[in-house]
Amino acid sequence: MLSIFTRLADWIVYSVFGMSPESRLADGLHFFVEDTTKIFALLIVMIYLIAWVRAAVNIERVRDYLSGRHRVFGYVAAASFGAVTPFCSCSSIPLFLGFTQARIPIGTTMSFLITSPIINEVAIVLLGSLLGVKFTVCYVAVGIGAGVLGGAFIDLIKAEKYLTALAATAHGSTVATGHANPDPVKMSFRDRHEFARDELKTIFRRVWKWVLIGVGLGALLHGFVPEEFVVEHLGAGQWWSVPAATLLGIPLYSNASGVIPVAESLLNKGLPVGTTLAFMMSTVAASFPEFMILKQVMKPKLLLIFFLLLLTMFTAVGWIFNLINF
């Protein structure tokens, strides 16, 4: 089914533009046309369908579900919820405070916040269509695993003492929860359609540029960076290449939609899976704007710990996947 996009690209590049299949430019352009058309088509379908299902889920119910649960259950459930709920970094602070107020442990909240940006329907579409099912499953497993372990660690060091006054107040207060429940639980066909249509518009408007930039970069790499270069310098899984990739990913602030096409290109050029995963995770999960926002609830010490924690986790993931030669 997806081969129609290959044929579409064949037609545009070789027939409409009349380019020779041997030229590098044609190769890069073909990659660009095929990937953008395929991704955009899949995104439109998937975002709409997922939003249709998600229309009745709201964050208040997630919070009520998570409060008062056993911790281990909490980490796994919070990371899973993080995976299915859309994430907007401007909401992360009210969400953090709301969870804290409901006496949900900080670690559980962090499980949610770590996994949420890593896994979403856009990432799944891109991974599935560009990198295949096996890689997608690994990515999802690692994303949830990182949330669970990260959350457990944050509780282990008793991070409550590193919260800012704002968050500590929320932690100590006993505001009644559940009094704001604006979304009707029962949704009609029309409500769901309207919700899904709005979600599609909002998400598409946000990610289309990233997809273009990502695929553009991927196409450049694809057409112009010789495979030998990547294989020779990074392909043997040199131990330092993983932490280097993780570090490189942090200042690169992108979301999953921008980084995945680049990862596809790198993988095709022979970059090991572990190194690629580490790079993707750190690009998506850790960013300076996000840290600036978290500064409102976390003291600098906790922010630093959080930063190092992400760095360590992603590096470990990279090493493990390279070691087992996945």
Partner: protein, 76 residues
């Protein structure tokens, strides 16, 4: 009538504010619009996902941007 937009100032909140403004103008009702950016105030409404729309102290929506049309219906 008092309409409040809760949010820490992200583009989405501004969009919601504009929609609310438009709704009020089109209905020509006497309403006071206010942006609430203080986190403690937002928390006091029990809202966890911004932007949120509050009409006369009651949280109408959170985490989404209702259109001016939808806001008109809520006002009436």
């Amino acid at each position: 009538m008092k309409i409040q937009i809760l949010g820490t100032g992200c583009p989405k909140c501004n969009q919601l504010y504009q929609n609310a403004q438009q709704a009020v103008a089109e209905l020509a009702v006497d309403a006071e619009l206010e942006k609430v950016t203080d986190l403690n105030a937002i928390m006091a409404f029990g809202v966890m996902v911004t932007p949120a729309l509050v009409i006369d102290g009651q949280v109408k929506t959170s985490g989404k941007i209702p259109s001016a049309e939808a806001i008109k219906e809520m006002i009436q």
